[in-house]
């Protein structure tokens, strides 16, 4: 339990705020990108990259490093910010995102970008890839844990549920699924476009242990990630209830901000609101 570790919680909260500000600048500069889904994942990513993951940016290919897969690849900007701030590449490189010759592609590219474990873009892949990593680990001497961040959109794809079947068959406890459940997708509210509820029951019926948290509460994120490590009899999913566009008033819970680019005025307002989130 991390309840008394105020310094840690504050540090992660600050990193989440940095991620939001970086993403705003990146999307505005590039006039493209995905703000809403980056903001719903900010605390989850900050909890992973600034505390939980066993990784070493100076040795990014250590065989026993933890693996993180961003299945919801459209949150690429948030991942790039976390990786840069964690030291995988210079912070200034964020400004190259989307330019010709940049190591930062529109969606994550494992070949080009240090620290990106797997390329992603189209939804649905991460869970099955994590299962493959876990099965392979059982044949290796190195021990590590695998994390996959899925979106609600991910979980509308058939291939994701195929992966859940396989995770259950092989009792994959070496991987933790984190679901950024913001219930808003490109075309509208998730529960209108393609309802996932009853989600907890679905995961349980697929053989998963389910932990539900408020995904913007860092204490809950950290505790859930630790709890999942102690579950060895079945795979675990952390359903993180989140808010799409979290942190900017006019973006929150709005499908438009899945992929919209702010105007100059909106950029200034968002920047102002996000600077207030700092402490």
């Amino acid at each position: 339990m991390h309840i008394h570790d105020f310094g840690l919680l504050k540090e992660i909260q600050e990193q989440a705020a940095h991620i939001r500000r970086d993403v705003l600048d990146m999307v505005y500069r590039r006039q493209a990108g995905h703000l809403g889904g980056s903001y719903s994942a900010a605390e989850i990513l900050a909890s992973l990259y600034f505390h939980h993951l066993k990784i070493d940016p100076s040795n990014p290919t250590l065989p026993d490093r933890d693996r993180f897969i961003l299945s919801k690849g459209h949150a690429a900007a948030a991942l790039y910010s976390a990786l840069a701030r964690r030291g995988f590449f210079p912070l200034e490189e964020l400004a190259t995102w989307g330019k010709l010759g940049s190591r930062l592609q529109g969606h994550p590219d494992r070949i080009k970008t240090p620290g990106v474990e797997m390329s992603s873009g189209f939804l649905g892949h991460g869970l099955s890839i994590a299962v493959g990593m876990a099965l392979a680990q059982r044949l290796c001497k190195e021990r590590f844990h695998i994390y996959v961040l899925m979106s609600d959109g991910d979980m509308q794809s058939g291939v994701a549920w195929e992966g859940a079947l396989t995770a259950s068959k092989y009792c994959i406890s070496e991987a933790t699924v984190i679901m950024d459940f913001n219930d808003v997708q490109l075309d509208g509210p998730g529960h209108e476009i393609m309802p996932l509820e009853p989600l907890r029951e679905k995961w349980r019926s697929f053989g998963f242990s389910v932990i539900e948290i408020h995904g913007h509460n860092i204490l809950q994120c950290l505790d859930a990630l630790d709890m999942a490590l102690d579950i060895h009899s079945q795979p675990t999913v952390i359903i993180a209830h989140t808010t799409k566009g979290k942190g900017v008033s006019f973006m929150e819970n709005t499908a438009k901000w899945h992929g919209a680019v702010p105007s100059e005025q909106q950029y200034i307002q968002a920047k102002s609101e996000l600077s207030g989130v700092k402490e």
């Binding site: 892949h125 099955s128 890839i129 493959g132 392979a136 291939v159 195929e162 992966g163 396989t166």
Partner: protein
Amino acid sequence: MSDIPQRQAYGQALADYGDKNQDVVVLDADVSTSTLTSYFAARHPERFFNLGVTEASMVDVGVGMALIGKTPFVNTFAALLTLRACEQIRTCVSYANTRVKLIGGYSGVSDYKDGPTHFATNDVAVMRSLPNIAVLSPADNREAAALVPLVAEWDSPVYMRISRAVVPDVFDASYEPRIGKGVVLRDGDDVALLATGSMVARCISASARLAERGIDAAVVAFSTIKPLDGDLVNATARKTGALVTAEEHTVMGGFGSAVVEVLARLGPVPVEMVGLADTFAETGPDPETLMDAWGLSVEDIVRAAVMVLGRKSHRSNR
């Protein structure tokens, strides 16, 4: 070796290679007793994963294994692998350049009894369009078996199609295939028959019939369709001035297309393409009869050779 189906030669070779290479893991989608990865499963159960009818997910599971340093052989029927799991292959194998070895069983029309739903007649066209992936189509059992270690050790993804059928022997025991290299099986000056997979043996038969007519036909086998041995294609075209391509696949986007893409760049010669026309074909009584009925017969190759020779002489007389 020609008394056993090509799938059996592959399955046995994979199990044997599993003895030598502990990094090999094998995945199958509930058709292991058809693809005959069941041999590997019996000998190396701890490295065999039967994932049921989850073809798309199976490819991604293989990707995860490759990312941890294993050498996954991902098996199912070629049509399911290359079509149902196509986006997984495109994004997570081809684009991400993961060392996944995709093995498409029941290629071409070799699953004659199950019919067009089960035929794989555009798998080469699909896989050839994906960067980073080598595309292989062995001609006989010896080649299929010999390619298994090369596929495993090739430092990027591979797609290899394997026939369900018994295919005639083409190569002798001294033959050692190399990925990216074609091989001249018969020299000839008048016309060259360029073939891949099951059509290599049929081209050898066609060359004998052509010889009876006084036509000196070369036969060149290409087990690698991508990266195609463009130098050999070009040299053969320059030497004979007329080519026939032959494949158990549609003529749209497959091996023949790859050949003419090379020629378009380096200097065209007349080409006739033997393969399936724009059709699904149909269920048949056996693979040979079915191939004969749908434009893949020895006589179809002979006819194509005669036709292309006519175009060649017409050209040289101009």
